[in-house]
Each structure stands twice: as C-alpha cells, then as structure tokens.
Subunit: 330 residues, 2 copies
C-alpha cells in the first residue's frame, strides 16, 4: 500500500507542532486520474461523504417524484446537518407527509451540534430524538424509497432492497466491487472503496449531462446540494460556508474520519480526499488547498481562511498558531 | 528528523479506517533512553503534560508552604480539570485565601467539559468564567508564587519572574535549552523540548529521593497527582480513570495535541509520547499499550479497555469498530 503524504501542519510559536498525512485523487469525466497524492488505491470508508450516492435510488426509483420531494428535500437527503430547528422541523414534516414518524427512523439519537437547539433541549430537560441525528435527512430519504417500494421497515439491514440498490449504485459509479462494508454511526451500511473509486464517482456526478435516470438523478442531487448549502450542514460548518463561498459552482461533502469530496460540474472533475488520522481540521484545510489551487475557491475568502490558515485563537483571544499546507503538497 | 512510527489504528467492518503515528521515549533514572519509538529528538510542545514542571517554582520557592497549600491544592496546580463544581469551587476558595479573585487570573474562559456544570451555566444564562478554564488550578498556583514573591500581576509574560523560574526548572529537568516557546491555550508560555527531554524530566520526578528543594518538590507533586486523580482531570477522563486503575502507583498527565507523560516511581522510569496528528484517542490508546507492556497497568481493567480497544459505539448502541495497536508497536 502506498504511503500517505504530508498535507497539513499545525504551527505554534514558529515551530511545527502536529502533522497530518493523507491521500487524495482528482478524476476527470472519463474516470481517469488527473492528479493523485499518496495512494489512489487506498481503501477507505467514505462515511457521510457518499450521501449523494446513497440518495441515487431515492431519485432513480421515482420515489422522490412520487412523493413530490423538492430540491430542498434532496439537499437534506445528502446532508450531515447539525440538528438546528430548520433541519429537525423539515425532517419531521417530511416523515409526516409519508405517513410516518420519528420512531420509523433507524438512525438513533445524538446531541445536536447546533448550539441553540442543544441549549433548548438542555434547559427543557428534553433528550435529543432521532430527528436531531445529523443523518435524519438521509434516513428520511431512505424511508421515502421504502414507502414507495413497499419494502420492509428494517431498511438499514444489509439485505434490505434499499441497501442492495445502494450497493449496486455505489459499485456502478465507483467502477469497483465494494471492498467490504462497515456500519456507520447512523447504523446504515457504509461500503468501502478506493479513494480513486470515490473520486471517479464524484467525476461522474460532475460530468453528468442529465440524460437517463442515473444522469438526471446525479444532476438533481448535485444542484440540490449547491442550491441549499444551509441544509447540507449548517451555520458555521465547512460544507455550508465553502459552498456559499464558491457561489454554488461546486458541491462538497464531508465524511467522518476526515473524508471530503468535491463535485465540480464546470470542470467536470471529481475530488476525494482522506486524512489518514481522521482529523477534520486537516481534511478541511487540505480541501481548501486543493480547491484554491484548482481556481474554484478564492483562497483569500474569509470562509476559506477560516480553514486555512485557520488562525488558532486561545481563551483570551490571542492567535497562538495556524495551519499550513505541508511543503510540496499543492 | 526521524520518522514517526505507526502506533494506533481504527478498524471498522474488518478494515483499517484510520492510522495514528507518533513518537515515544522511556527514560531511566540516569536520564538514559531505555526504549524509543520514532524520533526521540523530535521537538514538541509538551502543552499541559508539563504542568508538574511548571509547578516546581510554586513548591521550591516556599510559596506553597507559606500559604498552607494542601496536597489537593498541588494536585489541582498540575491539573487540566474539567470545570466541575469540585474544581471551580476549590480554585475560587484558593484565590480567596490569597486575597485575590477570578479577575486576577490570566487564563481566559472556556465552556467547562463537565456536563453538569456546563448545563447549569446554559440554563442559568451564565457564561463560563476563568475558574472554569481547565488550567485555573495551574494559574492559582502561579498566583500563589506571584503573591509570595511580590511579583507583578502579568504573570504569563515571558520575562515575568515566574516564567523565568519555570524556564529554568524546565531546562534543568529536561537537560536541554528550550528549543523555543509557544503561547498555550491558557496564555502561558509553553517551552518546546525534545520528547527525550520530556521523558528525562519525568524520570527525574520518578526517581526523586525526596532530598533537596527540587527533590522534595518533585516527590510532593508526583504524590499529589496520584493521591487526587479526581482533581487532575475529572470523572470520565483518562488521567483520572487510569491513575485510579493503577492504584496511585503511577502519575500520568495528558497535554493538548496528543501528548502524554507517565511518572513511574516504583520503576524509576519516565515516559513521554506524542501522536503526530494531535488526536487524543490515539495518545490514550498508545499510553495504555505502553503502560500495559511495562506491567504497571492491567490491560484487562475496564478503564484501560475503554481506551484500548475502545469499542466504537454508534447512536443505536451497536459496536461499529475499535482501536488497535499497530503491528510491531509494543
């Protein structure tokens, strides 16, 4: 297995404090590798970075249209949202429209990342519900497919028709047989793939001409993410702020353990990156570095600068350090 | 500069998901390296792992005794506590006994890690104060020195007599000239040193025979940490739980960006480790691995198992993965 390359460094007091290594691949519309860092064949779990792939059966099956889902719904289906009232209410209404409710979800609960909603729950002595789970939009999309296909309620089981459809879509867009699977934080199977495979899939989304069920679905999902950045993550978050900074020209998505993907329709390019150690500050900085180099993100934009050089501000407001790209990375 | 070695891995679904590399050194009472992983000469910021070194002037100057500090106070001076009521109240009373108060601190504020105190502040619409800062015990120790020496109030400035005394103590116990300094999260200078230097310092603490001002101070601080694990961090935290698991025979301390040290008086050994990428799950797992190998920690103890293999439990309670030591590490 090829070695990860140094990508991002934390500096403090003029000295190197920490280092992050990773792998990244840039693919074109033909599925060819345009540029690679580290080992393109490294097998990874895409985690939440592949939610637009996991949403393909929802759109391709006709379920999305049968239930009148809007572009905003499709964005939420691709989201790792922060459980703000905006996201929670939208997921709740969506399930209600399906004739379902929160107990039908199989994602489990966690404290929302959104501060306002978190504080409200604490002061109301209310626990988080499954709607607060960052994946509740994805699971609402899953349930829409289930309802439309009249499939069973245990939709995160590996042999459920939904997961079979997701595996087929995954293998098709990546051009690879799944290297295995793991169970994600939200209990859905997550199919392992090479970084090149993930980049190839993103390039297919980027270069879709909108024809055929697959092509139309890819284009709709890409556009939905770009058009609703606030739904894909939330205020203060990288996906939301960087998509806004790029004016909707690029769709990006983070995944746990420091995966990041980008879909660049204007360039017909797809990008996938994974920081070896799983640290999100590094995947965000590396993404900003690559997207800036490609000319699709202005490195001087405040939302870019927040991730690179990402001034490290301490408890008294002093800048104590910063992130830098490793020498020779981009 | 020597390369970091692979130490800790995250596995999911039978596949490697993430990898953490690091450096570690084990030193004996003569300051000799007994065992090393990666590069012993790697310059690091010890961050909070060196709080027992930063507390040496407090004890050696006679300030601690002049103000009647207990062993518990010395433990809190070495702590990165989680701002529970226990810690906050003790720091408040300590400052009061000095004729000082919260505004005299120079550590700044951050939301406490302790859930009960965090939730109380949120529901009372109260912001955190400097007493909640995980370093408020260290800073209370700093202020005790300042009061005793009749030094100026800006005690975190590099040329303040306190910081000069800390630099001298640091260089003496590590056997090195400081490689530079950075500003820590709490605004105090943090002197850079090699990992071998930090391990050498910990070995001096471990092998102190309790004679002389330095020897007495080292022994008192080592014992204070081991005797009051709940003050050094807090419920649920690695320092507290692992010191309890070792029955007070080993004093350990974490530092930001994945530094960890251990003082082993029975073996007269000192350990320092740093995970290259700054991830705390990895520094905790690597520490458990090394301390288990040395026979001072029972690898089967629940508090050890919590860090290694550290079962990864998802939102529905399913185990989705685990941490493992990299092959050939220990």
């Amino acid at each position: 297995m090829g070695k990860a390359v140094e990508m991002v460094e934390l500096w403090r007091g003029g000295l190197l404090e920490s280092t992050h290594r990773g792998h990244a691949v840039l693919c074109d519309e033909a599925g060819q590798i345009v540029q690679a860092w580290g080992d393109p064949d490294r097998i990874i779990f895409p985690r939440s970075s592949c939610k637009m792939i996991q949403a393909l059966p929802l759109v391709e099956s006709g379920a999305a249209d049968a239930f009148g889902l809007s572009e905003a719904h499709l964005a939420l289906a691709c989201a790792s949202h922060q459980g703000a009232a905006l996201h929670v209410n939208m997921a709740r209404d969506w399930l209600k429209d399906l004739g379902l409710g929160e107990p039908d979800l199989r994602c489990g609960s966690h404290e929302p990342y959104d501060r306002v909603e978190r504080d409200r729950l604490i002061c109301d002595h209310e626990g988080p519900c499954q709607l607060h789970n960052n994946c509740s939009g994805k699971h609402s999309g899953f349930l829409t497919f289930v309802k439309h296909q009249k499939a069973g309620p245990e939709y995160v089981e590996l042999d459920h028709p939904l997961q079979k459809a997701i595996r087929a879509a995954t293998e098709d867009v990546t051009g690879e047989t799944a290297a295995g699977y793991g169970i994600d934080g939200c209990s859905a199977p997550n199919f392992a793939m090479s970084i090149a495979g993930l980049a190839r899939g993103m390039a297919k989304f980027a270069s879709s001409d909108g024809t055929g069920a697959r092509g139309r679905a890819m284009q709709r999902l890409t556009r939905a993410m770009a058009a609703h950045p606030e739904l894909v993550a939330g205020e203060g978050r990288a996906c939301t702020e960087l998509m806004r900074a790029m004016g909707g020209r690029v769709s990006i998505k983070t995944g746990a353990e420091a995966v990041f993907v980008a879909i660049m329709p204007e360039k017909k390019l797809g990008l996938a990156l994974k920081i070896e150690d799983g640290n999100v500050r590094a995947s965000e900085a590396a993404l900003v570095g690559i997207l800036s180099q490609l000319g699709v993100l202005d490195a001087a934009h405040p939302m870019a600068q927040k991730r690179l050089p990402a001034p490290q501000i301490n408890c008294r407001g002093f800048t104590t350090g910063e992130l830098r790209l490793s020498e020779g990375f981009v």
